[in-house]
Symmetry: C2
Subunit: 212 residues, 2 copies
Amino acid sequence: MIELKQLRYLLAAADAGSFSRAARLLNIKQATLSRQIGHIEKRLGMPLFDRSLRGAKLTKNGEFYIRSVERLVTEFDELNSWVRATCCGMTGHLTVGFHTSFSAGNLRATVTEFGDKHPDVKMRGVERERKRLLGGLENRTLDLAVMAGEIFYAGLRARPFWSERILVALPEQHDLAERERITWPDLAGEHFLLGGVDKLVTVGFRACSLAS
Amino acid sequence: MIELKQLRYLLAAADAGSFSRAARLLNIKQATLSRQIGHIEKRLGMPLFDRSLRGAKLTKNGEFYIRSVERLVTEFDELNSWVRATCCGMTGHLTVGFHTSFSAGNLRATVTEFGDKHPDVKMRGVERERKRLLGGLENRTLDLAVMAGEIFYAGLRARPFWSERILVALPEQHDLAERERITWPDLAGEHFLLGGVDKLVTVGFRACSLAS
DNA sequence: TGCTGTTACGATTAGCGTAAGAATG
DNA sequence: CATTCTTACGCTAATCGTAACAGCA
């Protein structure tokens, strides 16, 4: 049977792009990692890595497999830490998920104000990607999620909370640099740098409702 | 660290409502199961079961924990069997999720017809609950999902496929037994027996669009 | 030679079953 | 006293690390 430990080895190896590097990070011997990954591959009946001199890269199948595995493992870890944190007594707690950065002014103010008003309610904030937030609400890991944009999701209700001005940083030579106001459609096709929670994205499908 | 094997023990115990019964079903000794569950509880820092003379019942925390664990474990098992089944070559495959029973006339006919027309495309059908289907589409485990009702879900598009008459079985004395046609709102508050995929539900929130 | 990953061998560890113990109706 | 779960004790089996091996800059 495949065990969680092995899956963690797998993830580390995929992440590091090399068995030896991953083993160093995990503080285990490289041989151990190689063997365990071999076990998984034997069990699945297919190779997950292309071994080479400069490390090991995921095969097509490996990429597919690991995508789901990563999600499952992180969800499990999150579950454990959350259960451990809330310990005895699941009531009186509010788990709130954020998409925008928690430290962003307006949000932080609102939340701390609520905390001051209701000291008996223990709040826990988590930052996740948009779709993880929706999933979290679905399976009751989250009580509440704050995110930008419109939401159409069966069984959920959304309320506009506040609207916010967004600033765009541009190179001086950029076509849009002279403009006083920029709308979302103007940015279609541009690349953005975001925080670690989300990846580099290309906007271009739908205007977001909170542009002021 | 908590391992998958232990989680399976946990699920079996919760399901059986007794450590000894679960151990019998798993073909292991009861002491083994008790010990492993003890490990989990120690690791989480809280009891998951109320032990008694007539078995072990989940605590409040236990119920919460196990709900997520069950989902994660089944998803992992499904992932493995699916990966093993499709083996070498992830292309040329179509994974279709169904909410309604797969064997139901119209659907089965359509699918087999498609299969005959395109023998080069290997199809795999899975039955899941509604929200699992949506999740499956989200994380790319499914290529396509067939379900009843309306869908509002960010990033997905739905097309009506066919509409179908639904028959209601009633006791002879029932108020609605004389009616020629029954609409969904009429059934608000009634209880239904459904297949294993879904639980006993009470309809009462939204009219479904496929009542003919 | 320095880096990759693999394989063989002995030691360690962790899980297993057996068996005994404690508690309850 | 039968049934429940827990705990202690050896044993077995799986994993680990060491070390030797193969291939390529």
